[in-house]
């Protein structure tokens, strides 16, 4: 059979160089067919070979049957954003096989189930037909396991084709099926069988090859949701209320898993946390406000549709000044369609969430490491500023696997903000300021002091928490001057927030005429795009936003460049709009690059956007 193939497949072009460690592998399967383990093993074994790698699951909103793609990006230079062009395609889904083959770039390698007879469909790619359905009968005795184990065979075939070290694959299998000896044995046999079959029957004709290097030693692989969960746990989160929603559910679930191990009080054996699945996102937000008001570090995790439902409570949290952490793992929405695809879609709606004069602190982690770090900052900021703080990630960052250095232990103690905890402190406060007013700005930063329910037995310790209308002493008031004074103080507090939020990360020498502003998961593609543009002779400066409100240096950066390209993963350029409002006359310097097809951003999109704008 391989002879037939060789006749049809084009011979490698004479003198065409091999492509080593820098391509993407695209695995097309049907959802629920059990390919996840195989893909993890593939990715992990490449990682163990020391090659920088990332894995993305492009999946449908479905339990079983609809097409799903897993892409693995390898990059010797360490760029792990999505690549638009596919180097190696593994076709396991008959439903999409024709289309999958049609869309790969010329020169790609295509591994496919022999019976699909794809080799006639194109003449410019390298076809490797494999009799997966026959092989699985030989390699897997238990009929019930064959549907899953067939996916292991392609791991073996790919290992042979690309030169993945089988020893690393074996280690990855053991890690994947930790402690399940039988599973290790069955899956390893299927992989081995695939490898041996390929070695015997295929002839390598494509240029893609993996070569051991030393760029991943000591690194971890983690998804952003798990990273944020670890961050929240280390930040001392104690009350979590959440409602299941893709793509944020795994954050709460990871948090449960980690807390069950690491947040049990050794003295009593009791948990130092409560994680509650709420009846909906409205309730989740209410529970978080109740817990934050009572003094706990409270958090909820959701996505766009949940953010909408939390709108009213968020406004109350803003006006009543209650700390809360809300994680928004953004996705495309609303309702059905692309709920399992990524988007930076909630920037404007979350910044201004709720009615009245509301605006909120938003944090934008640009990597899994920052998911860990900014999750911790979110709790400190929420308590310091006494307001809801949003951690804005997205599906790409939250649910996909990323390589990172191991997270370091937090150095700073928790910042619990301005809380009067004892009667002595209260008496001192009164002696110093004349009285305790829950909403009085005694420090000039707009941030008042608070007490916690049940802590201090004193006639003025308690206060009544209301929405928009109250005096500095938290008594009911509808007086125009009381309302306006309070709104002005809240505005001052928001100005204070600019001093506390994490500032942007600026790269470049500051002298390039062209600059890029991006945020969140766009960083991976922007880094790669800047690298490629530099090679083409177009150096760029770069500012990566990490928070709203903007810190003062953002406007300065814009003013210092002729043309500033703002990268948004949404149709309307939501951050672009906010920047235009922020920088005044310098808005003319801003250009907008918008990516909004549901797939993660890739470097080419950024390059195309900048090159189009830079055309003379």
């Amino acid at each position: 059979m391989s002879t037939v193939l060789e006749e049809k497949a084009p011979a490698p072009q004479a003198g065409r160089p091999e492509v080593i460690n820098d391509f993407s592998i695209h695995v097309a399967t049907a959802n629920g067919s059990g390919s996840q383990s195989s893909n993890n093993i593939l990715m992990r074994s490449i990682f163990q070979m020391g090659i920088p790698v990332s894995g993305k699951n492009l999946f449908p909103s479905n339990i079983q049957g609809l097409p799903t793609w897993f892409t693995i990006r390898t990059s010797g230079e360490g760029f792990i954003a999505r690549r638009r062009d596919v180097g190696v395609l593994i076709c396991m889904n008959p439903e999409t096989a024709q289309e999958d083959v049609r869309t790969v770039h010329p020169g790609a390698a295509v591994i496919y189930e022999e019976s699909l007879k794809l080799d006639g469909t194109r003449g410019d790619v390298h076809f490797y037909p494999v009799p997966f359905s026959k092989l699985v009968l030989e390699l897997v005795q238990d009929g019930k396991l064959r549907r899953l184990a067939v996916n292991m065979i392609y791991v073996g075939v790919a290992a042979w084709l690309l030169g993945i070290d089988m020893e690393e694959i074996h280690k990855a299998v053991i890690k994947q099926f930790r402690g399940k000896e039988k599973a290790v044995e069955i899956n390893w046999a299927a992989i081995r069988g695939g490898y041996d079959w390929a070695a015997k029957n295929l002839t390598k004709a494509d240029p893609f090859r993996l070569e051991r290097m030393n760029a991943t030693e000591g690194k971890i692989i983690i998804d952003g949701n798990a990273a944020a969960a670890i961050g929240a746990m280390m930040a001392g989160v104690s009350v979590v209320a959440w409602y299941p929603i893709t793509p944020s559910s795994s954050l709460a679930e990871s948090l449960i898993d980690y807390c069950r191990v690491h947040r049990i009080d050794p003295e009593t054996g009791k948990p130092t946390f409560a994680i509650i699945q709420a009846e909906d996102e409205l309730a989740a937000a209410g529970m978080v406000l109740g817990a934050g008001w009572a003094g706990a570090r409270a958090m909820t995790t959701t996505s766009g549709p949940g953010i909408s439902l939390m709108s009213e409570f968020t406004g109350l949290g803003y006006y009543a000044e209650v700390p809360a952490v809300i994680v928004d793992v953004q996705r495309v929405g609303p309702s059905t369609g692309l709920p399992t695809r990524t988007m930076q879609g909630d920037i404007l709606s979350t910044y201004y969430l709720s009615h009245g004069d509301c605006r909120h602190v938003l944090l934008f982690p640009g990597s899994v490491t920052e998911c860990y770090l900014l999750a911790q900052d979110a709790f400190d900021l929420a308590e310091r500023l006494q307001t809801p703080v949003f951690l804005m990630t997205d599906l790409d960052l939250g649910m996909n696997n990323w390589m990172a250095d191991p997270f370091t232990y937090p150095e700073k103690p928790l910042d619990r903000g301005k809380v009067i905890r004892t009667e002595e402190q209260l008496k001192e406060h009164i002696a110093r300021f004349g009285e305790f007013g829950r909403y009085a700005d005694v420090d000039g930063d707009g941030i008042p002091w608070r007490t916690l329910p049940g802590e201090i037995d004193h006639p003025v310790a308690a206060y009544f928490t209301r929405g928009s209308g109250h005096t500095e002493r938290a008594t009911y008031s509808e007086r125009p001057d009381d309302y306006q004074r309070n709104m002005d103080r809240l505005a001052l507090k928001f100005e204070t927030a600019r001093r506390y939020v994490p500032g942007p990360v600026v790269e470049g020498d500051g002298r390039a005429p062209v600059a890029v502003i991006a945020y969140g998961s766009s960083d991976f593609a922007v880094q790669e795009a800047r690298h490629l543009l530099r090679r083409k002779g177009l150096p760029t400066d770069y500012l990566r936003l990490r928070a709203l409100p903007f810190t003062p240096d953002v406007a300065g950066f814009v003013a210092a460049h002729d043309r500033v390209y703002v990268v948004d993963q949404n149709r309307d350029g939501q951050m672009f709009d906010l920047l235009r409002l922020e920088v005044g006359a310098d808005a003319a310097r801003l250009r907008s690059i918008r990516h909004y097809d549901g797939f993660p951003l890739d470097a080419e999109t950024v390059i195309e956007g900048i090159e189009a704008g830079e055309k003379p």
């Binding site: 978080v288 817990a291 009572a294 409270a298 109350l316 049940g454």
Partner: protein, 347 residues
């Protein structure tokens, strides 16, 4: 020789506090509003039970009823939530600090319509709190629209007739597993006071559906939530006595006609039966009673269902004795070794 009489020291309770120290702001509700009567009974019950007022956490939603938490126990913190969402806020606070006495006041709009979803889940979880519904069948603050507890055939002042069946909050609460379910009437102060004290002594959600006539919008003769209608039609299912845990127990009651229920904190509720065969610890009988009352159009009041040993949400979760809200930071942040282990597993 003249003498000036020493001013008589005001009475104090077992905590050494006067009833004034359980007070709050002056009510801004309509003169004669049933809600103010309930506020007085809440204040009295907290005083009689010797509850430390700063340990009371008060919750409410939106509506006339929800304003009332400002009118008592102002040494305790209060949280006026958004419409229908008080249960979630109270649940969060209870998780953060389970040692407080959580007391929520809501209305029929806040509970049976916009807040029905959260009310259901509060009961299902059995969150430790007292939940009082000041039920008048109308929306007062928005000037007199029907609520979901208005009876079929009840008429608004404007002549509009309610065609939809009323939601029976007590039946709903029992079905959802609430362990302390009562119905009362703001005009029946003695019964109401005993029921609130029982609720303070109970651990878990206690739901009191208190008919509280709206003197402005729903007190006319075609209303079944008017003061006169309730007064004329109220049928007590028991006479309720309350023996607090700190009083000596006396045994001078007749077990044949009186039922004694031991509550969580050691207090007893003494029920002198006025309906033969009715037993509020029997769920089927409680449902049967409510079903009969609905069919006959009766207005029954009393302790409808009680299950004093039912586990509350905080106990079910096996929570720490130290409140999460006040737990020292060292207990909240795992050590470097824990992080190291996690990182190792991800390599």
């Amino acid at each position: 020789m003249s003498s000036v009489a020493e001013p008589k020291a005001p009475a104090t309770n077992r905590a050494g506090l006067t009833i004034k120290e359980y007070g709050g702001l002056k009510s801004t509700l309509c003169v004669g509003c049933g809600h103010d009567v309930i506020t007085r009974q809440i204040t009295q019950a907290l005083y009689d039970m010797g509850v430390a007022p700063h340990r009371v956490a008060k919750f409410s939603g939106i509506g006339c009823s929800s304003k009332t938490t400002a009118y008592f126990a102002d040494r305790g913190h209060g949280f006026n939530a958004v419409h229908g969402r008080m249960p979630a806020v109270a649940t969060g606070a209870a998780l953060a600090n389970a040692s407080l006495l959580n007391l929520g006041v809501s209305g029929d709009g806040d509970t049976a319509s916009i807040g029905a979803g959260q009310f259901v889940h509060l009961l299902r979880r059995n969150v430790p709190m007292i939940y009082i519904v000041e039920n008048n069948g109308v929306y007062g603050l928005t000037k007199g629209q029907f609520s979901a507890t208005a009876d079929v055939g009840s008429k608004l002042k404007t002549g509009v007739v309610n065609d939809l069946p009323a939601i029976d909050l007590c039946a709903m609460a029992i079905q959802l597993g609430c362990g302390y379910v009562a119905r009362s009437f703001s005009g029946d102060m003695k019964q109401l006071l005993a029921l609130i004290k029982g609720a303070i002594a109970h651990r878990g959600t206690s739901m009191l559906d208190v008919i509280s006539p709206c003197v402005t919008f729903n007190n006319h003769e075609d209303s079944t939530k008017s003061y006169k209608w309730a007064k004329d039609h109220e049928i007590q299912i028991q006479e309720i006595g309350f023996v607090p845990y700190f009083d000596e127990i006396t045994v001078d009651y007749d077990p044949g006609t009186t039922q004694d229920v031991l509550l969580h904190d050691g207090s007893h509720i003494r029920l002198r039966k006025l309906r033969e065969d009715f037993d509020p610890t029997d769920k089927r009988k409680a449902f049967g009673l409510l079903q009969d009352a609905q069919e006959k159009g009766e207005f029954l009041t009393g302790l409808i269902y009680v299950e004093p040993t039912k586990k509350d949400f905080v106990s079910l979760l096996g929570m720490h004795e130290t409140a999460l809200a006040t737990m020292p930071d060292e207990k909240l942040r795992p050590g470097a070794e824990a992080l190291g282990k996690i990182m190792e597993s991800l390599k």
